[in-house]
């Protein structure tokens, strides 16, 4: 019986657990509790994905009110996949977060952090699972408000300004989205995504729908930090507590990319978004510029967390590039990279958590001699860095392979050259850190100071996942290509 209610539990579990974790005595207890809840969510998402792969999409009516009037939770291949990514990353990062959070966050606020974390998780899962457009906005704000709080918990006062800037931008983005949803409602009279998708073609000519489309795309682009609307991201990621950065880097922007897919394909439909509106002509240049400029800027960063943040902006560009090809292979590449980059960046930000734990900062200079002082941590950085570059046997390579195949399918080989050349910029920024860590001697008298096992172990699990899914990509590629075909409306 319970299996029927899986979709709602996916969101309810973290949502209800969040206040409970606040009431628990002691930060350690709430950590254990939140981690268990997160793993519970992960288990649910695994079950959901299995169910979707076997039986096709699941539709769940909240409170028994049937769609299109009631709120529908709708799980198909793509959002089952996103649920899996979000809950998986959250669980792994949270498992390793405790030691690092104790060090980075003020004692009296640690309970708050876990509460906000669970709320953010609930919000992100909610965005992914819901089939109701207005519901998207609600969950968007739940996740956003809690992530402002999470970021503000970072050590140092700059976390506060970073969080404030994110709040302003995030609110504008969310408001744009809600305007867009309202305008669609005006044109179609429904809030259910599938219903919207069915009714929109009839009114696609109207200016209301076009305005709605514009508002939505800009709002989502703000949320996913698509260049040039990325300016909030570097500060937010570099001043947040490291585990929070690992969590958000792996999930928040990814969910926004999912929204882009959902709105442009399921709701507006590929014909409208890419045919009539020629969205790809906007997305592709922005993606290319973003990849190039953000990678270039990353090279000159003196703080490694910030470097990774800029690299994230570039990587968003790769995902959007894949999407803007509007082909099955292109979308597959985009969705694949969504998963793969979540693994890469979360792993690398966890490495930052390790370094921050010992050094109290992640400036490039702090990395001097770390190759010797924190061998396992730095080995993880090198491995994650290789995956970011896209060396074979890592997930980064799989994404790049599909992206290049997709581009060549279109016959746009200069673009293929561009993709490969920009991944060389990744070599430069990764190797700057590697060189400092291994070839610049540490300060006098600095001994070995490996990070505690509790952070290191989840970090390595993430790194290993980078390799596992890099070698055996059948699961990820299979799911991504199915999701891509479904989005394009090509028979499964």
């Amino acid at each position: 019986m319970l299996a029927v209610h899986l979709p709602v539990f996916q969101v309810l579990l973290p949502l209800l657990a969040a206040p409970v974790s606040m009431l628990l005595p002691g930060s350690r207890v709430s950590w254990v509790f939140s981690t268990l809840v997160s793993w519970g969510c992960f288990a649910l998402s695994v079950l959901l994905l299995q169910q979707v792969l076997q039986e096709g999409s699941i539709s769940y009516a909240i409170g028994g009110w049937a769609a299109p009037w009631g709120i529908e939770y709708r799980v198909d291949t793509i959002n089952a996949f996103v649920l899996l990514i979000v809950s998986g990353i959250s669980s792994l990062v949270l498992t390793g977060a405790q030691a690092s959070i104790e060090r980075e966050v003020a004692k009296n606020r640690i309970d708050l952090l876990y509460t906000c974390w669970l709320l953010a998780l609930a919000g992100l899962l909610g965005i992914a699972i819901t089939g109701d457009a207005f519901n998207v906005f609600v969950f968007l704000e739940i996740s956003a408000l809690s992530s402002y709080a999470l970021i503000a918990l970072g050590s140092g006062r700059r976390a506060l300004t970073a969080s404030f800037r994110y709040l302003v931008v995030g609110t504008i983005g969310a408001t744009f989205i809600v305007i867009g949803i309202g305008l669609i409602y005006m044109a179609t009279g429904t809030l259910n995504m599938a219903d919207m998708g069915a009714r929109l073609p009839a009114v696609a000519e109207s200016r209301t729908v076009i305005a709605a489309f514009a508002f939505l795309i800009v709002g989502i682009a703000l949320k996913m930090a698509l260049f040039p609307l990325h300016f909030w991201l570097p500060d937010a990621y570099s001043y947040a507590p490291s585990p929070v950065a690992a969590f958000l880097a792996g999930t928040a922007t990814k969910v926004a990319v999912y929204l882009l897919l959902r709105f442009s394909f399921t709701i507006f439909g590929g014909d409208f978004a890419f045919g009539a509106m020629a969205l790809e002509r906007v997305l592709m240049p922005l993606a290319l510029l973003g990849i190039f400029i953000a990678s270039l800027v990353a090279i000159f960063q003196m703080d490694v967390k910030r470097l990774l943040a800029y690299s994230s902006i570039a990587q968003i560009g790769y995902m959007v590039l894949g999407i803007s090809l509007v082909s099955v292979t292109g979308l597959t590449a985009g969705i694949l990279h969504l998963f793969n980059h979540a693994l890469i960046k979360s792993a690398l930000f966890m490495v930052m958590a390790c370094v921050f734990y010992r050094m109290g900062a992640t400036r490039l200079d702090d990395f001097a001699g770390l190759g010797r002082r924190m061998p396992w941590t730095m080995a993880a950085f090198v491995a994650g860095g290789l995956s970011l570059i896209g060396i074979p046997l890592t997930v980064g390579f799989v994404s790049k392979w599909y992206l290049v195949v997709a581009v060549l399918e279109r016959g746009w080989w200069p673009l293929a050259v561009f993709i490969l050349f920009t991944s060389l910029l990744a070599v430069v920024y990764v190797w700057r850190v590697v060189e400092v860590a291994y070839l610049r001697p540490a300060a006098e008298g600095a001994g070995r100071c490996e990070a505690p096992l509790s952070i290191l172990l989840p970090t390595w699990v993430l790194i290993m996942a980078n390799f596992y899914f890099g070698i055996d990509s059948s699961l990820t590629v299979g799911v991504a290509s199915r999701a891509a075909a479904a989005l394009l409306g090509i028979g499964l």
């Binding site: 896209g390 060396i391 074979p392 392979w401 080989w413 490969l420 060389l424 070839l439 070698i471 055996d472």
Partner: protein, 487 residues
């Protein structure tokens, strides 16, 4: 034991060796023993595969599927056999040499050194046995990365700069060109298998074939075709055993090996002959030979001179391949072995001089031959093989290349070989002459020294002997090289 199991062993032994070296790092004697045993076992393993391959067996291993239709696969064929034999045999000798050299020069971080060495060898085996282009690419990148720590071993500013050039050029070319070529091939043909006669015929034609060939040839940066050769001199900051085995044998040979593989099994000789857009390769390789030789003439640093000589010798293989005649292919395959033995001898000698006399420049070597007769004797033998004078194996490979060039009427190639032979002589023989027939400059303060430590001398004597033995008994490499062309 059947061929498949042995192949698996050949891939696994260097990896296991690396692990064991890591575990035994605290006990240097044990660690070095493991290296030697590992190298020995690897060679036995590879050698035991030889008769089967000569008899026409082609053992194959298939692993997990990377992408739908694209597996990690291994397939042993004659060219890979030559490469694997040479690399694994020279690893034994190089290990002996390393022990003498690293201890003699009191180098730091020797455990890391030996681990990376073993991993590099594992990657080399992967390249030699690769059954499709993607597998080859995987190990190609692994080889680049595993040799980086060896290049920057000294951790000095110079080493860092050298390492940057090394990694920069090798990764740039492989990611920007080679990977693109591989993906392009994949999307054009739907396969990346190495097949006799190539896979491109009928799928592509016109100028695009020439472009694809360019992406492959420049993408395989390890073959050091001009203008992407600069990593090789840069890599000379590494300790000499690294220069010797990796930058005279494993890494650079992986490059030209890939070149031959691509031409023979991806493009196919007949297809290349039919496509005029691929003709440029011959001229590019010829120019590369001559230019690099001329640069080598002007190098005073001995290792840099050897490096530029390597650049030129690698292009011999590329040019012989580009002649597209079966006989020149045999020459190319033979030259992989010939140059390996000759050049490793020369590097061993350079390292030996550095260890015993702490000299690195050609101009400092006057009269050194009488103090280090074994070293300089071996150097002379190696030089002769580079020039292609009998009785060394270098002569045999050049002979086949010339035959191939004559048979197809490629007078350009013939001319290049003759001119470059003169150039080779011009930059090697003066070293030998100075070492034996010039007196040390008066007033030069040179502390008394004799030969290098015995493992060093033993190693270079063995490889020098190898170049001569192979001249008299070329049956094995020749048989394999002919097997490549089905002759």
């Amino acid at each position: 034991m059947n061929g498949e199991t042995t192949m698996l062993l050949a891939l696994a032994i260097p990896v296991l060796t690396a692990v064991l070296i890591g575990l035994l790092g605290r006990w240097p004697n044990m660690r070095e023993a493991v290296t030697l045993v590992g190298a020995g076992m690897l060679f036995l393993c590879v050698a035991s595969l030889t008769p089967g391959v000569l008899a026409g067996e082609r053992p194959e291993l298939l692993f997990i599927e990377f992408f739908p239709g694209l597996k990690l696969s291994f397939l042993l064929e004659p060219l890979g056999m030559i490469f694997a034999l040479v690399a694994s045999f020279l690893w034994i000798i190089n290990s002996i040499y390393s022990i003498g050299y690293m201890r003699g020069n009191q180098e730091q971080k020797q455990t890391r050194f030996y681990i990376c060495f073993a991993v590099a060898l594992a990657s080399t085996m992967g390249i030699a046995l690769a059954g499709n282009m993607l597998t080859l690419f995987v190990f190609y990148e692994a080889l680049t990365l595993s040799t980086y720590p060896l290049v920057v071993h000294k951790e000095s500013e110079a080493a860092r700069a050298g390492g940057r050039t090394y990694l920069g050029i090798l990764l740039t070319t492989s990611i920007a060109f080679l990977l693109l070529a591989v993906v392009w091939t994949w999307s054009a043909t739907g396969t990346l298998d190495f097949r006799a006669g190539g896979i491109l015929a009928g799928e592509m034609h016109g100028p695009m074939v020439g472009v694809l060939l360019a992406l492959y040839m420049f993408g395989i940066g390890k073959a050091a075709l001009l203008p992407f050769h600069r990593w090789l001199p840069a890599a000379m900051v590494a300790p000499t055993p690294v220069s010797a085995l990796l930058h005279a044998v494993a890494v650079v040979k992986a490059g030209v090996f890939s070149v031959v593989k691509v031409v023979v099994y991806i493009f196919g000789l007949e297809f290349m002959q039919a496509e005029p857009s691929t003709d440029w390769l011959l001229y590019m390789a010829g120019a590369s030979i001559l230019i690099a030789s001329m640069v080598a003439l002007r190098q005073d640093n001995l290792k840099r001179r050897l490096a530029y000589s390597t650049v030129s010798q690698l292009s011999y293989v590329t040019m012989a391949t580009a002649i597209l005649a079966p006989l020149s292919m045999v020459g190319a395959a033979l030259h992989i072995a010939a140059h390996a033995f000759g050049k490793i001898t020369l590097f061993f000698a350079a390292g030996s001089i550095y260890t015993a006399a702490h000299k690195t420049k050609v101009s400092e070597l006057n009269g050194i031959g009488w103090r280090m007769p074994w070293t300089m004797g071996a150097f002379a033998v190696g030089s002769l093989s580079m020039i292609g004078v009998p009785p060394t194996i270098g002569f045999v490979s050049k002979w086949y290349m010339l035959q191939g060039a004559f048979s197809t009427g490629q007078m350009f190639a013939v001319a290049v070989i003759f001119v470059s032979t003169l150039l080779n002589a011009a930059y090697f023989l003066p070293v030998v002459y100075a070492a034996f027939f010039r007196k040390p400059a008066v007033g030069e303060d040179s502390p008394e020294h004799g030969e290098a430590p015995w493992p060093v001398v033993l190693a270079l004597t063995l490889t020098a002997a190898g170049t001569i033995v192979l001249f008299f008994l070329p049956a094995l490499p020749l048989g394999l090289a002919k097997g490549l062309m089905g002759l």
